[in-house]
């Protein structure tokens, strides 16, 4: 560790990546030292994931050079990157649902050792060791698909550690986690830093970014626009660098509490998921529902939209009963649901943006089965414009959009149906600060227009910025009810964890 150069673990110089028509990265320099935590920040589509893919050998740069441990890497591929100590935890974790926990953890390291034969006992041993190292306990023989998300993430981290990673890169590691698990993750990151492992991570949650990282690198449109020690940034300066403008987060206007009752939920019960849930909400109210992972929020939301059939209970909307367990009937009663997982549940990725919106409005543009195309296209285009979806063509597949814009497309589908009640599950998951603020604007606006909006989220600032009232779930039960204006973020997080 004599010269400053050799202290650099990984270094990228002048890296450019071009996809057909898009320059995803434009002459970016980037370096990481051992034991350092670097945060990559930037709006959706600014090139963060691309940078990570290049570092880990998944993609080849169009121009530029990469050095790992001082050695120039040409034609880097995932296997070589791994043996050089660079491991990635992708946004989707890239684990194997059909394999056991032990195998998921040990697979990559055994591969890196060029093993030919597989030894179950050795794999368990490896897995046991790393799990112990970060002090967690997950059944080694469980099939991965049976684990909750937070455990999957831990498995992904363990896999990286098993490979004796010197640099662990995490792409949006906290999006699927609740507050408490984020805490634990950050704790683990500190632990790793102490052991000399470097960490690069991408996150849209600015507070946590600043909390653990030493260095922040901000990308915008594929260019590096800022770089410096974390202490030199605060949330608003970071936001300014990312978006190139000021983003002010408003708060929900006061809710006068008047208005007629829109929704009543009575004694809704689903063994194993939620128990005896009752609440009411009024027109124009934005209601937050929060809770830890597995607290039953998602099941409850799905039950409201008929995707989960409760064992007993009653849902009334505007005085009329909503049939339980029937999404078509729920949609007919004008309930809308924007799911938390855009890519698999929310959108038809290979289909056009237009179709993704239009599919919500087919019934009203159907005359004896035939579609009134002009009407349909006109209306969808109108909604896309109202939600400011940025796209060169609404005939382009929805995959061509950035995360924030994809979320708007999902929103547009349900808004075009003029719902009475809109349930948004994680409305800003994986959405950058700029877009997030705009989506929050939209939510507040919807409330003001007299819709009932339920926001399910564990992003506390988000709840505070949008909700008039927040319900807290724990272990499947409603345990608390908080008036939006009456609480600070710290208090809320205490209530959650208690």
């Amino acid at each position: 560790m004599g010269s400053p150069d050799s202290a650099v673990l990984v270094e990228m110089t002048g890296v450019t990546k071009r996809y057909a028509g898009v320059t995803a990265l434009d002459r970016v320099d980037f370096a990481v030292r051992p034991g350092e935590a670097v945060c990559l920040a930037g709006e959706n589509g600014s090139g963060k994931s691309t940078l990570i893919k290049i570092l880990s050998g998944v993609e080849q740069p169009s121009e530029g050079a990469i050095r790992i441990g001082g050695e120039q890497m040409r034609g880097l591929n995932p296997r070589r990157a791994a043996s050089a100590g660079v491991m990635v935890i992708f946004q989707d974790f890239s684990l194997f649902p059909n394999l056991s926990v032990a195998e998921n953890i040990a697979f990559a390291s055994e591969l890196a050792e060029h093993r030919r034969f597989f030894n179950r006992r050795a794999a368990r041993e490896t897995a046991r060791k790393v799990l112990d190292r970060i002090g967690v306990d997950i059944p080694l023989d469980a099939r991965l698909e049976q684990l909750p998300v937070a455990h999957k993430q831990l498995v992904a981290i363990c896999r990286a550690l098993a490979c004796e990673a010197r640099l662990i890169i995490m792409d949006e590691p906290t999006t699927a986690l609740t507050e408490r698990e984020v805490r634990r993750l950050l704790g683990i990151i500190r632990l790793l830093k102490d052991e000399g492992v470097a960490v690069v991570f991408v996150s849209h949650k600015l507070a946590e970014v600043l909390e653990v990282s030493e260095k922040v690198v901000v990308l915008r449109n594929g260019r590096k626009v800022a770089e410096g020690p974390a202490t030199e940034f605060n949330a608003s300066s970071l936001t300014r660098h990312m978006t190139g403008r000021e983003v002010a987060e408003a708060s929900p206007g006061p809710f006068n509490g008047a208005g007629e009752t829109l929704l009543t939920v009575e004694k809704l019960d689903k063994p194993g998921a939620f128990r005896n849930v009752s609440f009411e909400m009024r027109r124009g109210e934005v209601l937050g529902i929060t809770g830890l992972l597995g607290s039953g929020r998602t099941s409850l939301a799905k039950a409201l939209f008929g995707l989960v059939a409760p064992a007993s209970g009653r849902i009334t909307l505007d005085g009329a009963d909503v049939p339980l367990g029937d999404p078509v009937a729920a949609a007919h009663a004008r309930i809308g649901y924007v799911p938390e997982d855009r890519l698999t549940e929310g959108l038809f990725l290979t289909q056009s943006i237009l179709r993704n919106v239009a599919v919500g409005r087919l019934d009203s543009h159907e005359r004896r089965g035939f579609l009134d195309m002009t009407g349909l296209v006109g209306e969808a285009a109108d909604w896309l414009a109202r939600l400011k979806v940025k796209t060169p063509s609404i005939a382009a597949p929805v995959t061509s959009l950035s995360g924030g814009n994809q979320q708007r497309v999902a929103l547009a589908r349900w808004l075009s149906r003029a719902p009475k009640l809109l349930i948004l599950n994680g409305p800003s998951v994986g959405v950058d600060v700029g877009s997030k603020a705009e989506i929050h604007d939209i939510i507040r606006d919807l409330g003001a227009q007299g819709l009932g909006v339920i926001v399910i989220s564990d992003d506390l600032p988000e709840l505070l910025a949008t909700c008039h009232r927040i319900l807290v779930m724990r272990g499947g039960e409603m345990v608390d009810e908080i008036e939006g204006g009456s609480i600070t973020e710290d208090d809320l997080s205490h209530k959650l964890a208690s």
């Binding site: 649902p97 087919l362 589908r413």
Partner: protein, 339 residues
């Protein structure tokens, strides 16, 4: 076609365009190899009589593939419908009957066949949507059941002795256009309109593209699937009626080679077997290419086994050409989610 929500690129880059080139190329090649025989009106009419029966089965296959499914029972349904129609015709009408009564019984038989097709399709739909069977197994099993029922009803022999009017469906022409061709054209056009112009068609496409998202979009997934298989069943029974008329009889094993052919044609026609993409025009072009090839090769007295070889080769060739442009063709799997 314009105005519809289209996601495809320029016309010249579509798989259908390449297929059109292939169809034309095959036609020109065959015409060049034996101009007087291949281009004779005789031969052209003959070809037009030949392909509709399996082309209709390919249409049935197409709509199920649009949902990411498959219907391996099409031939079974066709034969069962035909056997039931034929039983009605022989039992109540008989070979000698003419005039209005014969036409009436033909109508009754047609309705019965279509009903059989609808019921069989409904059964497939229930198995796939309610019971969650993989379509490939559901329809493989039900196909055996349908064929088996036809065997059991007839003891395996042919049912024959129809009124002469039955021949109209498969063997006659209207203004020199073969009736089976007209039937096929109507069904193809109908399916095209259904898929591109109706809410149902769009829902089918969307379901095929992402079944889970369809559920979350409050599409009545079970109903859609049910309808798709019912349509496939009814198309199959139309094919069964055409076969019955052309064979002047019905039997449990007619057209047994059409099953793989129908799959082959649909796939060659650019239908994504994992769902979400498929256009009737592509299927029509695939059918034409197949028929030109097949009749042309018969003309040249090329072994019929070679025809199989060439069909398979053509499929592979088209796929290799398409592969660079056909990114959407991936197994239906959540985009690498850990769960």
């Amino acid at each position: 076609m314009s105005g519809g929500p289209r996601t495809e690129a320029k016309l010249t880059e579509t798989p259908e365009f390449r297929l059109a080139i292939i169809a034309v190329a095959v036609f020109v090649l065959m015409a060049a190899l034996s101009p007087d025989r291949f281009l004779s009106p005789q031969n052209l009419t003959s070809m037009a009589f030949q392909f509709p029966e399996f082309a209709i089965l390919a249409l049935a296959m197409t709509i199920t593939m649009m949902t990411g499914g498959i219907d391996l029972s099409v031939v079974g349904v066709a034969n069962l419908s035909a056997v039931i129609a034929a039983t009605i015709l022989t039992a109540f009408a008989g070979a000698g009957m003419v005039g209005g009564a014969a036409i009436m019984w033909l109508m009754i038989a047609i309705v019965a066949a279509l009903t059989v097709g609808a019921v069989a399709g409904f059964l497939n739909g229930i198995l796939v949507s309610r019971f969650g069977l993989p379509p490939i197994l559901a329809t493989l099993g039900s196909g055996l059941v349908f064929t088996g029922l036809a065997v059991a009803m007839t003891g395996g022999s042919a049912v024959m002795g129809f009124p002469a009017v039955v021949a109209v469906i498969g063997n006659s022409t209207i203004f020199h256009v073969p009736v089976p061709l007209i039937l096929f054209a109507l069904l193809a056009f109908g399916l095209h309109v259904l898929l591109t112009r109706t809410g149902f068609g769009l829902r089918v496409t969307m379901y095929g593209a992402n079944p889970l998202a369809a559920l979350f979009a409050a599409i009545d997934v079970d109903r859609i699937l049910l309808k798709v298989y019912v349509i496939a069943g009814m198309f199959s029974s139309v094919a069964g009626l055409v076969i019955m008329s052309r064979a002047n009889s019905a039997k449990a094993d007619y057209g047994s080679s059409y099953l793989l052919l129908a799959v082959l044609i649909a796939v060659l026609g650019g239908v994504n077997p994992y769902g979400g993409y498929g256009r009737v025009i592509g299927v029509v072009l695939a059918v034409l290419s197949m028929q030109f090839l097949s009749s042309g090769l018969n003309m040249l007295q090329v072994s019929n086994f070679a025809r199989e070889l060439i069909w398979g080769g053509l499929l592979l060739l088209v796929m290799v050409i398409n592969v660079t442009n056909w990114a959407g063709l991936r197994p239906r799997r959540a985009p690498a989610k850990a769960g």
